[in-house]
């Protein structure tokens, strides 16, 4: 990465320019991963990947493909920077984030390169706001080494059925236990709260179950506090893929359809809370 660009002015020198007719297509998906202030942005010709981490145990990634943007110009193979996500979201919704159809905020997001602020041009109804957000030294996201070849169990569910379960989860429980098994109970969410325990069982032949590939009975516990932010992504999504690998790491992938019907992905990785004796 070059240390600086030649000039601070003039669009021609931006290393990254991304334009959107409807800023909600970006802000909504960023909201799904907002649980910490620091967000690592990594842009490649394929699109934008935004990563947020917590306690080195949880990582959330949002992928916004280049096609989602009306303009996506990148002058380098990879452009990375870090900004305060809360500030960025405040800027993106500076016009109130109206959901009225036909009223949309347009965005032009520019980045001059290392050491420069992220510049946002927001326009709604002929009013333009220019925001400059200072960028920080990009950190290296944790590699959870979650590899699809090591996946032991995988299910794809319609989000609808999980939304209900997550909205009802007993928050007095410290952990959420996820059991996946080729035999009964197939896919089970369990909580252990003050008042007792609760289990939510999804049979593998349910209409809500799009895919069921479980090879081995696995029981993993995740801290409820860590998983809590993922409900934001769940609320936006239409399908969710739940995977666990041989180490008990959990991957949750959410398929999110935006206002224009395009598809984006949000992904959460979560470390297991503790070893649970396997049957």
């Amino acid at each position: 990465m070059p240390l600086s660009t030649q000039s601070q002015t003039g669009g021609d020198n931006y290393v990254l320019v991304a334009s959107l007719d409807n800023v909600r297509n970006l802000s909504n998906i960023l909201k799904a991963i907002t649980f910490k202030d620091h967000a690592i942005f990594n842009a490649t010709p394929n699109g934008l990947k935004v990563t947020v981490e917590d306690s080195k145990c949880l990582q959330a990634n949002a992928f916004i493909q280049a096609e989602i943007f009306q303009e996506f110009t990148i002058r380098e193979d990879s452009v990375g920077f870090q900004v305060n996500l809360t500030v960025l979201l405040d800027c993106l919704t500076i016009f109130g984030g109206s959901t009225v159809p036909g009223v949309a905020t347009a965005l032009r997001m520019c980045y001059n390169g290392y050491g420069y602020p992220l510049t946002l041009f927001l326009e709604e109804g002929g009013v333009v706001t220019v925001c400059k957000i200072n960028t920080q030294e990009p950190e290296e996201p944790i590699d959870f080494e979650f590899c699809s070849t090591n996946v032991t169990n995988k299910v794809i569910l319609q989000s609808e059925s999980l939304k209900e379960a997550f909205s009802e989860l007993d928050m007095t429980s410290e952990v959420l236990q996820i059991t996946m098994s080729p035999s009964q109970p197939y896919f089970r969410l369990s909580t252990f709260g003050n008042s007792g325990n609760a289990h939510y069982d999804y049979p593998k032949d349910s209409d809500m179950m799009e895919l069921f590939q479980c090879t081995k009975t696995q029981t993993n516990r995740c801290k409820m506090s860590l998983l809590k932010p993922s409900t934001k992504a769940l609320a936006l999504s239409c399908k969710v893929s739940v995977r666990t690998d041989d180490r008990g790491f959990l991957s949750l992938q959410y398929l999110v359809r935006n206002d224009d019907g395009q598809i984006c992905f949000v992904e959460y990785y979560c470390c297991p809370d503790e070893e649970v004796e396997e049957e």
Partner: protein
């Protein structure tokens, strides 16, 4: 206990639990021969509610024979089982309630759409029986109305309003918001609704009277009555004696017993004197109830309490309180609560009875009660009118 609720009855059960949660923090569950009784009482024991679901309400209802069992648990936990009330009807097909006395587990299993199975294992505590002492049949006044009428009436009062006054005379009923004597009269707003007797399905006023009671619990009952479309009956006497709100159907009977405010200050003083003699002032940390100026006849014993002839509430009995309880009065209430706390903290001896100070006279001895347990329950059930109505929708 093992019972199954199906179809629309699941929602009725859920609504009942939500309705009870407006009364108290704990749910008392008692599988009886004449049905499943769910009860709750508020912390100041001024409001009591009982839902009795007859065996016909269930698709399956089995209880262990000859073995009385009752328990209590935090109502919040049970509410959590039926959290999504709005989607309940669409999603839940069957609810299976199973009580495992050995494991001390009450299991709610919800069989939902798409094969989703929700299992809630709740822990519970053994409990004494909870039974209010009341006799609605002997009340001088009875109003019977469609829930809509009362819902529309109550709608006009602000949500913050705590108490409502109901006055009856001849052919009319007035509902008005109760303004505390402490409140500045010039700033208070009065809302009054007058209903004519022909708005009611049944209107029997024996004595001209005006009673004041808490609106919150009435609202709770109305939510239930409205959702089930069942008419509400209101039984009451003079101020100070409890008002009974009832909803009955062929498969369920609901009774809400609420204390009413008394306007008799003399009786209150009389009470204070009694109290001072009876009880030393307890510490100050039990003043948590906002409606501690009410008390109703409430009796709790190891055995089921009586509800028939054992309730000879004399009108002049000293269970009347002013709206502004004096310091001594507050002490009394604290004292009562303290007693309750104590019995919970220390292991309660099996046959020790807790009773309202004001109603000590109505409690029979334990030996008397032994044979009356079942009898009294039968009396409870016989209260329900002989409805030929079909079971709930």
């Amino acid at each position: 206990m093992d019972c199954v609720v199906t179809g629309g009855n699941v929602k009725v059960l859920a609504k009942a639990i939500h309705s009870l949660s407006r009364i108290g923090d704990e749910l008392y569950l008692e599988p009886q021969e004449n049905g499943l009784a769910l009860r709750s009482v508020n912390s100041s024991r001024s409001a009591y509610a009982c839902f009795l679901f007859s065996p016909l309400f269930f698709s399956r209802y089995t209880i262990p024979l000859g073995h009385a069992f009752r328990c209590k648990m935090a109502i919040k936990c049970v509410q959590a089982v039926f959290r999504s009330l709005s989607s309940l009807e669409k999603t839940v097909e069957k609810c299976h309630i199973e009580l495992d006395g050995e494991k001390s587990r009450l299991t709610f299993t919800l069989h939902c759409k798409y094969g989703l199975l929700k299992t809630h294992n709740l822990s519970f505590q053994d409990s004494e029986s909870l039974q209010a002492v009341f006799d609605k049949e002997s009340c001088a006044n009875m109003l019977h109305a469609q829930p809509r009428l009362l819902v529309d009436t109550v709608l006009h009062f602000p949500p913050s309003l705590e108490e409502v006054s109901v006055s009856v005379s001849g052919e009319r009923v007035w509902f008005r918001n109760h303004v505390d004597d402490e409140a500045e009269q010039s700033k208070a707003m009065l809302t009054e609704l007058c209903l004519s007797s022909d708005e009611f399905d049944h209107f029997a006023v024996g004595a001209q009277t005006s009673i004041t009671f808490c609106l919150k619990e009435l609202r709770g009952l109305l939510v239930f009555a409205e959702s089930t479309g069942l008419p509400v009956s209101m039984y009451f006497d003079e101020p100070g004696s409890p008002v009974v709100l009832s909803v009955t159907d062929s498969v369920l009977e609901v009774n809400f017993v609420l204390a009413t405010l008394s306007n008799d200050a003399n009786l209150c003083n009389h009470n204070n004197n009694n109290t001072k003699r009876a009880r030393s002032p307890p510490p100050d940390d039990f003043m948590t109830d906002d409606i501690d100026s009410y008390l109703i006849a409430m009796e709790t014993s190891e055995l089921a309490g009586p509800s028939d002839a054992l309730a000879p509430r004399s009108p002049s009995s000293n269970h009347t309180l002013t709206t502004q309880p004096s310091v001594a009065m507050r002490r009394l209430e604290r004292g009562e609560e303290e007693e309750e706390e104590d019995t919970e903290d220390t292991e309660r001896p099996p046959n020790k009875k807790f009773r309202s100070l004001f109603f000590g006279s109505v409690c029979p001895s334990d030996s008397q009660l032994t044979n009356q347990t079942i009898k009294s329950q039968e009396v409870l059930a016989s209260d329900s009118e002989d409805d030929t109505q079909a079971s709930l929708p």
